[in-house]
């Protein structure tokens, strides 16, 4: 712009603002660095808050949802009539295929010894609808619950499930502790 070597007033002004911006940016980054865990934050479902509303299956931006059922074996009662697997027996039926809750048939069970059965969730089939979670929570031990699987989750800046979760159950957790596992208390 200027023909001479002497900087114009406009150039001096620009240089000053640029320097201020640089200093401000460095200052902000420094401040953040001391305050942040440096780890990224990820989303997780707090199983104690989740009320099994079923929105996880549809709200997630992924298809199928990144939220999937987890089964805590150590908390399981190994019920013969698993409440997560079968609908309430007051509906009449018991352990027949028609009475299975899971819409995708993701839950299977194997006989162990009378009267105990071990159940397993096929994570490739589970769509995170929480029907089994509801059953297990209402009538059983609550050993089935939902977790956002971080091998699938896109880590949206704003989790679409958190937007709609009526129970405020989807929370940010530090990336190095990405799961909220159900563990026995006491």
């Amino acid at each position: 712009m200027a023909d001479s070597d002497k900087p114009t007033r406009r150039e001096v002004l620009r240089d000053t603002v640029r320097l201020c911006g640089l200093a401000g940016g460095a200052f902000a980054l420094g401040g953040i660095a001391t305050r942040s865990e440096a780890a990224e934050m990820v989303w997780q479902i707090d199983p104690d808050k989740c009320t099994e509303c079923g929105l996880c299956a549809s709200a997630c931006v992924l298809e199928p949802s990144a939220a999937k059922c987890v089964h805590a074996y150590a908390q399981c009662g190994y019920c013969k009539l698993c409440f997560g697997l079968f609908r309430d027996k007051r509906t009449g039926d018991t352990t027949t295929a028609e009475n299975v809750r899971c819409p995708t048939d993701a839950i299977s069970r194997t006989f162990i010894e009378d009267p105990y059965h071990q159940i397993a969730v096929d994570e490739n089939r589970c769509i995170g609808c929480a029907l089994c979670v509801k059953g297990c929570h209402q009538f059983g031990n609550g050993s089935m619950y939902l977790q956002i699987r971080h091998d699938r989750c896109a880590n949206c800046n704003q989790c679409a499930i958190a937007n709609v979760c009526p129970a405020d159950a989807v929370v940010r957790v530090p990336g190095h502790r990405p799961y909220m596992l159900k563990r026995p208390k006491g």
């Binding site: 406009r10 620009r14 240089d15 603002v17 640029r18 911006g21 640089l22 940016g25 902000a28 980054l29 953040i32 660095a33 305050r35 780890a39 990224e40 934050m41 990820v42 104690d48 808050k49 009320t51 509303c53 931006v61 992924l62 298809e63 987890v70 074996y73 150590a74 908390q75 399981c76 009662g77 190994y78 019920c79 162990i112 010894e113 105990y116 059983g140 031990n141 609550g142 050993s143 971080h150 091998d151 989750c153 896109a154 880590n155 949206c156 800046n157 704003q158 679409a160 937007n163 009526p166 129970a167 940010r172 990336g175 190095h176 799961y179 159900k182 563990r183 026995p184 208390k185 006491g186």
Partner: protein, 440 residues
Amino acid sequence: MRRAGAAFLCLVAPLVAFGQTADQHSQPPPQFTDYRIPIERAAAPRDGSFQYVDLALLACLLVLTAWIVLKRRSRKELRIVSLFALGYFGFYRLGCVCSIGSIQNVAYAIAHSDYRLPLTVAGFFVLPLLAALFFGRVFCGGVCPMGAMQDLLLVKPIRIPASWRAPLEAAPYVYLGAAILFASTGSAFAICEYDPFVGFFRMHGHFLMILFGSAILAVSLFIGRPYCRFLCPYGVLLRWASVFAKYSVSVTPQECVQCHMCADACPFEAIQPPAIAKQDRTEIRRRLTRTLAVTPILIALFAFAGWRMSPMMASWDLRVHRAHVLRDAEMHPPKVKTVLADAWDRHRKTTQDAYVEGSAVEHEFAIGAPILGAWIGLVFALKSLSNLRRRGSNDYEADSSSCLSCARCYSACPVPHREYALPPLPMASIEPPEPVGGAV
């Protein structure tokens, strides 16, 4: 416990044999004769190293774009870089986190001291702005996947009449203000929720958002980067930063022959024609005083409107909505309990708790919404002055604040570009630049 975080449910059997479980209906685990309670397979945590790759790539691509746009002056090479950015940040990393959305994290972090801004997010917010302070909007030109998507589709740019452009260009300022209000109150990350392109990156999304995105992409066949120019809130910040850019796109290497070709080639109307005859001073002064007089009125008007609208804005917040739902339910108990009310009960919280929470949010909006209104009023007032802005130059010049660094104008300029070099850097002497590779 065991390798905390890595294993999904390594519950140890002996612990459970005695310990009572967390849930209320517990039946103790049975005593098996010949069966061991299995330990869950590990589910992978998120690969944390990616965030550093993202940050490093962002920084590299910013510098690379600056070099290509300002020094190599090659649209062809720039296209390759932006295709890569589109593939990596867009389709591979699924679009999160991005600089545009990071505004909200920053706003949220400022308002909520318990939220720790992750370093990646901070980097995505700061780095493109720093780059803009030096090289102009190189982020838009080569790094932003959303910009790339629109830019690569542009086939037949048409001009938008100037009278339409001013109001359209005010929209990003309004969007920025609204996004900050909703993020800082913790109500919503609107930029993410209404992101028109992220659905394409993920190949899945809400139907209406996909429709919106498709509409924008269809428009961008003819209008250069509609989202970037008429919506993108981060563009506002980049615009401010790039006003002070040290090196930004400068069309002609030597002497401008005033042929108007570059301005025709720019699909974003970012090239300012030479200042024609000096505008009448008294005319300018009159418009300035008129605007100055109108500004406070506009601000007050919009602030008032914001204040009136604050209850409505607040009601979009889930917490306020919940308080309303619970109040309604108390007055007219519904047959079926809503999921919101059900969840609230199960958390053993009272209706009073919901009121307290909801009214706190309403209070925040009662302060924030008038401020947003005042901001919108200010933007409208200043936008009416935009055609008064005069450049000091006698030549065609790219306006660094609206130039998106797309490198289209270079090949349109008929003046030979071979001997062109950047203004000398303060460092050592610079080698002569490579010849520009033909028209693109």
